[in-house]
């Protein structure tokens, strides 16, 4: 009798598994062919001298060469500057905006949310080409306005030199990065239990205390998520660089992603480019793991 039940249960279980895989099959097929397989190929070929005409195993030479390659080192440095510059600003800026927006009436809330999402929706190409015009040395409105205000006295080639170009890049990156964090923060601030904050206020807590003691810990998971996705996106900064400065002048504004593209699709150094991809993935992995470690244990699940 009881063995019967077990046998039956086993049969149901097997049947459930079979059905589940039928449903998973399409997604898995796409995932394996277009994500997992290329990932494996990327790692594998990073150990080869792999060009249009050559395919020869060379061990870790590609990796060794990377660190001797001045442009690559420069690209890593620029990428880190962009990440370290953008992540804190994006996080703080979007949290600040969200605290103002979230308790507005629903019309204003939707309106401002949409405003900050606008650059994301407009798309990276359109956003970058218009900013390029705004920054243009001769026809850009930025030079005109700043001269009118007396801040500068002759036109500046904002994109023509590294120290100003990196600020232009960060500015544009900021406008295209805060949209999603604001949406997330507005949602999670709106989910905070009103009775908690009200009780604290009745007890005489200042709004600053309410924020730090109640709201900040509650939205910690959102902050972690925002920090992680902003880091990943900043690491992969590409369209912005390619369309705004094309890595120039003389690769001084190149990022890892830009240099990877240059090697793969201009120089056809596939193996070398794939080694860069692996290094980039490791960098991103290390950063994300650190963020989880530092912020994750402050979260009450």
């Amino acid at each position: 009798m009881s063995t019967n039940i077990f046998a039956r249960e086993h049969k149901i279980q097997a049947q459930q598994t079979r059905v589940s895989y039928y449903f998973l099959l399409p997604a898995l097929l796409f995932f394996v062919v277009f994500v997992a397989l290329p990932m494996g190929m990327g790692v594998y070929t990073s150990f080869f001298k792999y060009t249009m005409s050559e395919f020869k195993f060379i061990g870790i030479d590609n990796y060794l060469n990377l660190f001797k390659d001045e442009i690559f080192v420069r690209s890593v440095k620029n990428t880190l500057i962009i990440v370290v510059g953008s992540v804190p600003i994006v996080t703080i800026f979007s949290l600040w905006l969200a605290t103002i927006i979230y308790n507005m009436n629903s019309f204003s809330r939707s309106f401002f949310r949409a405003v900050y999402y606008l650059p994301v929706v407009t798309g990276s190409v359109a956003v970058v080409v218009v900013w390029k015009w705004i920054f243009d040395r001769y026809y850009g409105i930025l030079n005109f306005v700043l001269q009118g205000l007396g801040i500068i006295n002759k036109n500046v080639a904002w994109l023509g030199q590294v120290d100003t170009a990196i600020w232009c890049i960060l500015t544009i990156l900021l406008t295209t990065s805060v949209g999603q964090p604001i949406v997330l923060y507005v949602a999670s601030l709106g989910n905070i239990d009103r009775s908690l904050t009200e009780a604290a206020e009745v007890d005489g807590a200042t709004s600053f205390q309410v924020f730090w003691r109640i709201k900040w810990p509650t939205i910690m998971p959102t902050t972690l998520y925002v920090v992680v996705i902003t880091t990943i996106n900043s690491f992969q900064c590409f369209a912005l660089i390619q369309l705004l400065t094309n890595g120039g002048p003389a690769f001084s504004t190149s990022t890892v992603m830009f240099y990877l593209y240059h090697n793969a699709f201009k120089l056809f150094e596939y193996g070398y480019a794939n080694a860069m991809g692996v290094v980039l993935a490791i960098l991103i992995g290390v950063f994300s793991a650190l963020q989880f470690k530092v912020m994750g244990n402050k979260i009450d699940y």
Binding site: Q13, F23, F34, V35, G42, P119, W133, I134, G277, A281
Partner: protein, 275 residues
């Protein structure tokens, strides 16, 4: 209580909010007005904040290029990605949320790991792979790889977890098979998730640049964002022409976003905050 007292902090931050908002709106405004400015107005010493003459010359120049073809390609690519993502993600997300089966935990952590990895890292091998399938420089090359990314599966799983098991139980007792249960019970319950994911995928694909850049080559195969980038490469300071292209690409997608804003923001908030 929130109909707050007008403290100095509140006043200052509201003013700042408005100022910052203008900075975010300005580029879009500059695209639209720039698209209609004459070449003289764009080259003028004193920029026109508002066009004194509205001209179509930039659009005339734009359509010497196959801009409608680019537009149509973007529609095809975005639409196809949207359908495929919704279909595959809803099926996978449903069973991951509602069924207990061998390998479930492993599969799920595999999807999570892939989400955390930068997707552009695999583009070089992806191009080689797609070339070996004879799909390089076809629209398929810009569609199929984007379906493999598991974000949609997470979103669908989040929503599917909220479906009461008793509903599916009842449908089974009524004699429906698994597929009928999915189509008749689960899909209608997932409607908000479909809405959010569909808009999200459409906008993302429309604005994608890198994947399309490495996959599409022939001038007639480009999408609108690639086309605009090409124009920038060829006529670097003809800003009027470039803005006309940017406007053609941006205006429809912004209109779609504004129309579906609420479904969209709720969707990404739900998918991310809980996941």
């Amino acid at each position: 209580m929130d109909k707050a007292k007008l403290t100095p902090y509140r006043l200052i931050s509201t003013l700042l909010l408005v100022a910052v908002s203008l900075t975010f709106i300005f580029p879009f405004y500059w695209i639209i007005t720039g698209a209609f400015k004459t070449r003289d107005a764009i080259m003028a010493k004193i920029p026109e904040f508002f066009p004194s003459v509205w001209s179509m010359e930039n659009f005339d120049k734009l359509f010497i290029n196959p801009a409608w073809q680019w537009f149509a390609n973007a529609v095809i690519v975005s639409f196809a990605s949207m359908i495929l993502v919704c279909l595959t993600a809803s099926m996978a997300g449903y069973v991951l949320a509602k069924k207990r089966f061998a390998g479930r935990a492993l599969l799920f952590s595999m999807f999570v790991a892939a989400m955390a990895l930068p997707k552009q890292v695999v583009l070089v091998p992806l191009v080689n792979l797609v070339s070996s399938m004879n799909m390089h420089d076809t629209l398929w090359a810009a569609i199929l790889p984007s379906v493999g990314w598991p974000f949609g599966i997470f979103l669908m799983k989040q929503f599917a977890e909220g479906i009461p098991g008793s509903l599916m139980e009842a449908s089974r007792i009524d004699g429906a098979n698994e597929w009928q249960t999915f189509v008749q019970i689960v899909v209608p319950m997932l409607k908000p998730a479909f809405g959010a994911l569909a808009i999200f995928t459409f906008i993302n694909t429309w604005n994608d640049y890198f994947l399309q850049l490495v996959m599409l080559v022939k001038r007639s195969n480009l999408t609108i964002s690639l086309g605009v980038a090409t124009l920038q490469g060829e006529y670097s300071t003809d800003y009027g022409l470039i803005m006309a292209g940017a406007a053609l690409g941006a205006v429809p997608i912004v209109a779609i976003f504004v129309a579906f804003q609420n479904a969209f923001t709720q969707g990404i908030a739900l998918g991310a905050v809980k996941g």
